[in-house]
Amino acid sequence: MIRRHLPFATVAVIALVAAPLLLEPFRLGLLAKYLCYAIVALGIGLAWGQGGMLTLGQGVFFGLGGYSMAMYLKLAEGGGLPDFMVWSGVEELPALWVPFANPVFALGMAVLGPVALALVLGTLVFRQRVRGAYFAILTQALAAAMVILLVGQQGLTGGTNGMTNFFELFGQDLAEDSTQRGLYLVVAGVLGVLYLATRQLVQSRYGRLLVAVRDGEDRVRFLGYDPALVKTVTFAASAGMAGLAGALFVPVVGIISPALLGVVPSLELVVAVAVGGRHALAGAVLGAVVMGYAKTALSEQFAGGWLYLQGALFILVMTLAPKGVVGLAGRLRRARTT
């Protein structure tokens, strides 16, 4: 029992105690950002790694969560219309925005909005037995469409620039180090809880069913289960995680814009999950954090090189270690013991 929980406990202590003590505020902020991505990656690990649904559009759900939060933050500042609306000549607060002044509504929408969209989409798509590459393309198209929509509605969404200049969250000054440290702890805590919950789910009967759906959807149907329902529910769970991650991301990073949730960021996270190891939840989380760090570190050294390196890494992992870093580690361990 202790052995089983030891790795998780170690990581939790490092993340919750050591990191806030040792890292300077700027680095801690970066880590918080990667942990937000790791929450999305956890959802991808569940939907893709366990359920076989290659979703290339998690940015959509991430964005819905992020924009919900950003709308609340903009309205919480007080002082009338958000700045970008004034610049685009909007004179009255749009009706869509009004309820987001309530933090409970905004946070609720950050999670339930993505869940609802995923439920509708999943019901339509999986009932028609759309799967594999077709599902992947569909989700990617959704990400592209989302960007077009956001950019097009300048007065409602801030267009290409998105929303930024957030000053306070629940009365706390967002520029303060202590607020940022608190935010970091919230993000790390949420990730930890979601990781444990997802792991529990994966190890349950439902998890076995999900793997069965991934490996033999038609056979599952003849066991008396409805694979469309299983996939829809799982997809919605992963969407909810992405939405929550988006809501946390906004106060941590201080901006949300279409560039953060389009096709490219959605793909980057899938690549990170593949590199880390999609069949293990820990691999998905690890992949997101490591790839996030690598991106920052390498962009600091030589900008532009990252994209090539990322692509090369993806190809390398897919051909040499399809189960990612975690799969590779497991193989090495087995090789040593036998």
Partner: protein, 249 residues
């Protein structure tokens, strides 16, 4: 219990089933034979909802099956296996069985972890003789063991009607023997329909046989009646009626 009336299936102008009538009473072990393309698998597909008949009715225990979704038909108590066995290789033998046995539980209750082995699963393990392999991954099973696991998965679901599509295809003599015994055991308390080519297997284990040919029921009767029937011999023309039927394509 199972009643098919005037079932037609047309694929792009090809009449796969051309007016099939079939009645299988409760508790019977029925063999379905016929040359390739006779429509045996199509018939199973129609009963289990994989193929929708162009015309005709399929009734099971008072329910109309036509147009029902596959998993709903399973929930009525109709289970099937496939020619090429599909077990979940990433799961262990016992997990495969447990998944099959849990299908009536509501989805949310599956979020709990499996504790131990349920009665239905233990029974399926015992009947199929897979107890020693219970914790092994299904991916390491031999062809014969996979077929037994599939049959075990069906049993764990406690269906009222079992449809087995060529359960002994590709099996060694020894495995055939064991499958035959398993079949006899199962037939004692289930209604079973078996699609089979192997005449030797048929002789040993069949009671009632239905011969399909070109999408129609040609003859129905005991093994002796059927193999003595000149029409059946004609269908398998050019080969000796005794062992030629056993030849697999």
């Amino acid at each position: 219990m199972l009643e098919l009336r005037d079932v037609h299936v047309v694929f792009d102008g090809f009449r796969a089933l051309d007016g099939v009538d079939l009645t299988v009473p409760e508790g019977e072990l029925r063999f379905l034979i016929g040359p390739n393309g006779a429509g045996k698998t199509t018939l199973i597909d129609v009963i289990t909802g994989l193929t929708r008949p162009t015309a005709g009715s399929v009734r099971f225990g008072g329910h109309d099956l036509v147009g029902r979704k596959e998993h709903r038909i399973v929930r009525l108590g109709v289970g099937r296996t496939f020619q090429t066995s599909v077990v979940f290789e990433e799961l262990t033998v016992v997990e495969n069985l447990d998944l099959a046995a849990s299908f009536r539980r509501p989805l949310w209750s599956l979020a709990r972890r499996r504790r131990g082995v349920s009665e239905a699963v233990a029974e399926a393990l015992a009947r199929t003789g897979l107890e020693e392999l219970a914790e092994r991954s299904a991916g390491v099973l031999s062809h014969g063991q996979r077929q037994w696991l599939e049959i075990g998965m069906l049993l764990a679901q406690r269906p009222r009607l079992l449809l087995l599509d060529e359960p002994v295809a590709g099996m060694s003599g020894d495995e055939r023997e064991r499958t035959g015994e398993l079949l006899t055991q199962i037939a004692a308390d289930h209604t079973v329909i078996v699609v089979e080519h192997d005449m030797e297997f048929l002789r040993r284990h069949a009671s009632t046989v239905t011969v399909l040919h070109e999408g129609k029921v040609l003859v129905e009767g005991s093994v002796e009646q059927v193999s003595a029937d000149p029409r059946v011999q004609e269908v398998y023309l050019g080969r000796r009626s005794t062992d030629a039927v056993g030849n697999r394509p």
